[in-house]
């Protein structure tokens, strides 16, 4: 059939030139007609006639050329149509097919249709795969060079509706769902508001509980105006609980509400450190003001009891200080002896 159509198309422009009155020429050949027209050897006296059909497209199908004659008029044996026809008929596969199964056009048509479908499907699949624009950023994401979720920072990620998922196919009656190869039926929920209220009443009767507000250790006395149901007894060996009020509640609340600035404990530690540093610096200064004991000896007079007159007058002030210190020492010594005597007397019964 295809080979027949190939023969037809070249003839159309030729015939179009012939008919210049605006009518369209249409050739419909049934398979018997085609057979008669094309697969008989061409003769110079073959006539090919067609009927001019009116412009209206709707009537084209009705006006099939049934009475086309089986002859083809070829003015010249070297006509391009004849040459083309000869070349087609001389092809070995065509000759083989037409000789062996000349009437199996249904099978041929089916094969051709399947081939066309396969080609179409492949083209569609290729088009779909190429829709992502090869060489685009999507390839970078696919290769792992770009994190697709981080790209949402600059442009908000378009979010798919979780109720609209291609894996879920809803049946026509809307009561069956096919998902991941399994069939599901939609069963409506049967809980009513009355049933909910009944359950709430049942629970309120079964579970009586009050939030504990007073926490006592074992052994503590119960305060007089406290509901016993709100008391919580803490065992002494509870691993993660303390009952001592180590935490100042007001301070803790302020810490939670603080939005800016240095946190309280950090600030307190910093202040304490600052104070300690200042104290250390002051202590160092004070230490620097004290006289060194080693250097103080230079200011002391030597202790000399027998050589007062011998010392020259020039050493007057120094000598005087030395003299003054000397009697001080025996005075100190006498004082110490006296204190010892008095302490001995005290100790005697």
């Amino acid at each position: 059939m295809a080979s027949i159509w190939l023969l037809q198309f070249p003839s159309l422009p030729f015939q179009h030139r012939v008919s210049s009155n605006g009518t369209s020429l249409l050739l419909h050949h049934r398979h018997c007609l085609c057979q008669r027209l094309n697969w008989i050897p061409l003769t110079p006296n073959r006539t090919f006639s067609m009927r001019a059909i009116h412009d209206s497209m709707s009537s084209e199908e009705d006006k099939v050329v049934d009475t086309a004659k089986s002859t083809l008029v070829v003015a010249d044996s070297k006509h391009p149509l004849a040459l083309f026809q000869e070349s087609i008929t001389s092809l070995p596969p065509v000759v083989f097919l037409m000789k062996n199964c000349p009437k199996n056009y249904f099978t041929m048509g089916l094969c051709i249709t399947i081939a066309i479908m396969v080609v179409t499907l492949r083209a569609y699949a290729e088009r779909k795969s190429s829709q992502s624009n090869p060489g685009s950023v999507a390839d970078l994401v696919r290769r792992g060079q770009l994190r697709s979720d981080r790209r949402g920072i600059s442009r908000p990620l378009k979010y798919d509706d979780p109720f609209n998922n291609p894996l879920v196919k809803v049946g026509k009656s809307n009561s069956t769902v096919e998902m991941c190869g399994k069939q599901y039926r939609l069963a409506p929920v049967t809980l009513t508001e009355e049933q909910q209220a009944i359950h709430q009443k049942r629970r309120s009767r079964a579970y009586q509980w009050k939030r504990p507000t007073v926490f006592l250790k074992e052994g503590d006395s119960i305060p007089p105006d406290v509901d016993p149901d709100t008391i919580r007894w803490i065992p002494a060996n509870h691993p993660f609980a303390t009952t001592s009020s180590d935490i100042d509640e007001d301070l803790a609340q302020n810490n939670v509400y603080q939005q800016r600035g240095v946190p309280f404990r950090i600030q307190a530690e910093h202040d304490a450190l600052q104070r300690k540093l200042e104290a250390l610096q002051k202590e160092e200064k004070l230490n620097n003001l004290f006289i060194d004991s080693r250097n103080a000896k230079d200011f002391q007079r030597p202790f000399k009891l027998n050589d007062r007159s011998v010392e020259p007058v020039e050493q007057g002030p120094i000598n005087n200080s030395r003299i003054e210190t000397k009697p001080a020492k025996p005075e100190l010594a006498s004082d110490s002896i006296e204190s010892k005597i008095s302490s001995d007397e005290m100790q005697q019964p």
């Binding site: 920072i153 939609l186 049967t190 309120s204 509980w209 939030r211 609980a241 009020s245 301070l251």
Partner: protein
Amino acid sequence: MLSLQLFPSNPNPTFLNPSFKPLSNPQTLKSPNPYPKSRHAPISSVLQWNRKPELAGETPRVVVITSGKGGVGKTTTTANVGLSLARLGFFVVAIDADVGLRNLDLLLGLENRVNYTVVEVLNGDCRLDQALVRDKRWSNFELLCISKPRSKLPIGFGGKALVWLVDALKAREERSPDFILIDCPAGIDAGFITAITPANEAVLVTTPDITSLRDADRVTGLLECDGIRDIKMIVNRVRTDMIKGEDMMSVLDVQEMLGLPLLGVIPEDSEVIRSTNRGYPLVLNKPPTLAGLAFEQAAWRLVEQDSMKAVMVEEEPKKRGFFSFFGV
């Protein structure tokens, strides 16, 4: 199990409603239903995409995630729902209220960045903003830990401290949170009492087994006694195959026992453990897992204060004929 809202009760339903208002630039790379080619054609589609959920209730919404029984998925729920909320554009602060056993930071992969906790804030060693750990993946998600291990907090004082914390977060001029999620410790001891003190609403996480349900019922009673009335339930670790074989209670059975509205149903997913190992919550997985999708849906319902109206029950697959290959 995933769920789809068939009969939404809120005035702005999110499913099967053509009268929604999409954003100005709704086309996405992953949009399964592209806009029609004609510019003048009216925009109409059955399912919505790229719509931010409408925040209901007063901000900040302080939600405590509790269960009673340990190991049912409170911390996983807190991490995944919190990140889903952050991804939806809300400012979220997640508080790990477990004084002795802290692990929300592990799940989020932020364990190396926790330098200060609430105990240091109370003692004055740091400010509150210095104790908040901002997630680099989603900058509007922050984590706050109550304490490091081996630190002590006086019993009875923790509740007050949490109230002050919530007030201080609310009073922040920049980045005032829309949601404060409190990851409650297991049990009904001092830690539980501390965690529920500042909360206005609660999410109860339970699994479809009788031990978890009994504890969940008791916890619900205590929450109601303390004045928290808005309590919703997430049923975690659901195995639809076991429910089909009647080896596990169904979600509707669980709801019948507890009498609480459903916020979400999370299927059993091995990806939870892998995400814990990586420190990467599974809602961030691409493509999303079933459990991740369920968490996202639960976060959506939490924002809009909505609940599930239908659950999915696994059925036997239909036997297909010869021509099923052709889609017939």
